[in-house]
């Protein structure tokens, strides 16, 4: 087992989870981290199942209580990891359900989704469209029947002007933010701010700033 790698796997995944929770947009799917975590869960789950079978077979044995004790601890750790994974996936699914048309129209955002999520999106959008058509869209006059018309404001977009809490990971010096008026801010390491998401978005991809 590589322990040096695994210390950062969990903390990077928790950081990705926190980023996803705080931001209105969908981040790229963390395939590598999730595969590693799932591998670990699978190996542990196999050991757990083997232990449980062994406990069932041997009924009265002193080693059993130790085996049960060990198995319980492993179960708890697996439960914690499962909770993280489930929460991460559910957050992303909720975001997909909230902005289906916007994602379908944007190739870049669509690439942030995993293959399964893209399938989910396709299926969800088909149901959504069918439901809208059957409920009332067919009875509207033809020009108003589109649900993907950006000009008419029919497409729900994630609001990038939400305010988020973030932590600065590197010394970035004086940064200028462009808005209606420009303002400057000295970003030093380990400072935290509640700031407009749009302003720090470019720094998040390079991990210079992380959401907290």
């Amino acid at each position: 087992m590589e322990t040096t790698n695994n210390i950062t796997v969990l903390s990077s995944f928790i950081q990705a989870w926190t980023n996803e929770k705080n931001s209105p947009e969908i981040f790229p799917y963390e395939t590598d981290l999730i595969t590693e975590i799932r591998n670990h869960i699978n190996t542990q789950q196999q050991i757990i199942d083997k232990n449980l079978e062994q406990i069932k077979e041997e009924e009265t044995n002193n080693n059993d209580s130790q085996l049960m004790f060990l198995t319980n601890i492993m179960l708890m750790e697996v439960e914690r990891l499962n909770y993280l994974l489930r929460s991460y996936l559910r957050m992303r699914l909720d975001k997909i359900e909230k902005y289906p048309v916007y994602i379908l129209k944007n190739q870049q955002v669509r690439e942030s989704l995993s293959k399964e999520e893209q399938q989910f999106l396709a299926g969800y959008f088909k149901l959504f469209e069918k439901h809208m058509k059957n409920s009332f869209l067919e009875k509207l006059p033809k020009p108003l029947q589109k649900i993907d018309d950006e000009e008419e404001g029919m497409v729900a977009k994630p609001d990038v002007n939400n305010y988020v809490a973030c932590k600065i990971n590197e010394d970035l010096g004086e940064v200028q933010f462009l808005e209606a008026d420009t303002f400057n801010l000295t970003l030093k390491k380990d400072d935290s701010y509640i700031i407009n998401y749009d302003h720090i978005k470019p720094f998040i991809q390079s991990n210079k700033v992380s959401l907290i």
Partner: protein, 237 residues
């Protein structure tokens, strides 16, 4: 949608604090290594201190299989110094980021391992109150031109409690501040681009739609009447 809330509730911060390392003194033997995702935790021998994640320490403590070594920052002396520091200056002192969560969990599951438990608890509460009043004072400084808020020395719990209020307040300030300036808006037909006070009634499209709506109302009225006469007929029968 629960999953789309932007902040952690206290249970979730408690979950996150579970990964913090803490020293325990086990009273059992385990010759195997516990293999977790973030490291291996070596064989356990009685009376030999070992560092484990907090969630594991609390589980073991609940089953009375260990004794938890209370971290330095939860001792009476340290807390008294912190309280003095908090009361003397306006800036927030540096605390462990999971100060509230770890202390709450230790109070609940390992009260006997803490020296002067009552005193420690009152000190923690006092520190919380002093910091909370400082944060409230800091919030009063938000004006209608505030574009960001510095939250460097807050603990995780304080930050998550502040977030909903601060994010929506700052967002509203931003909206008001930028309302007079041109923002890119979707183009509605027959309406000026940057005008925020649009008169919807002057749009020529709506006039054509009116007769359609009236017709639908007539059809519903007719069907209603039909329903009631049928009802009356059956009653007479």
């Amino acid at each position: 949608m629960y999953n789309l809330q932007n902040n952690f509730n206290p249970q979730e911060t408690e979950f996150l604090s579970g990964d913090e390392p803490i020293k325990i003194i086990p009273n059992f033997t385990l010759n195997q290594k516990l293999v977790f995702l973030n490291g291996e935790y070596g064989p356990f021998q009685p009376s030999i201190p070992i560092e484990v994640p907090l969630w594991l320490a609390l589980t073991l403590r609940r089953q009375e299989k260990c004794q938890i070594t209370i971290p330095v920052w939860l001792s009476v002396e340290f807390l008294q110094d912190i309280l003095k520091e908090e009361k003397s200056r306006k800036k927030l002192s540096k605390l462990h980021p999971y100060f509230s969560e770890i202390s709450a969990q230790l109070f609940e599951h390992a009260p006997n391992d803490i020296n002067d438990f009552e005193k420690v608890r009152t000190l923690v509460e006092d520190i919380w109150n002093v910091r909370a009043s400082k944060i409230r004072e800091g919030i009063k400084d938000i004006t209608n031109t505030t574009y960001c808020l510095s939250i460097s020395d807050l603990t995780v719990m304080e930050r998550e409690l502040l977030k909903p209020y601060a994010t929506s307040a700052l967002k509203n300030i931003w909206l008001i501040f930028n309302s007079g300036k041109p923002i890119k808006r979707p183009n509605f037909p027959n309406q000026p681009e940057t005008n925020t006070n649009t008169k919807i009634g002057t749009n020529t499209n709506t006039i054509e739609e009116e007769p359609l709506i009236e017709k639908e109302q007539e059809t519903t009225k007719r069907t209603l009447r039909k329903f009631t006469t049928e009802d009356m007929e059956t009653e007479q029968n």
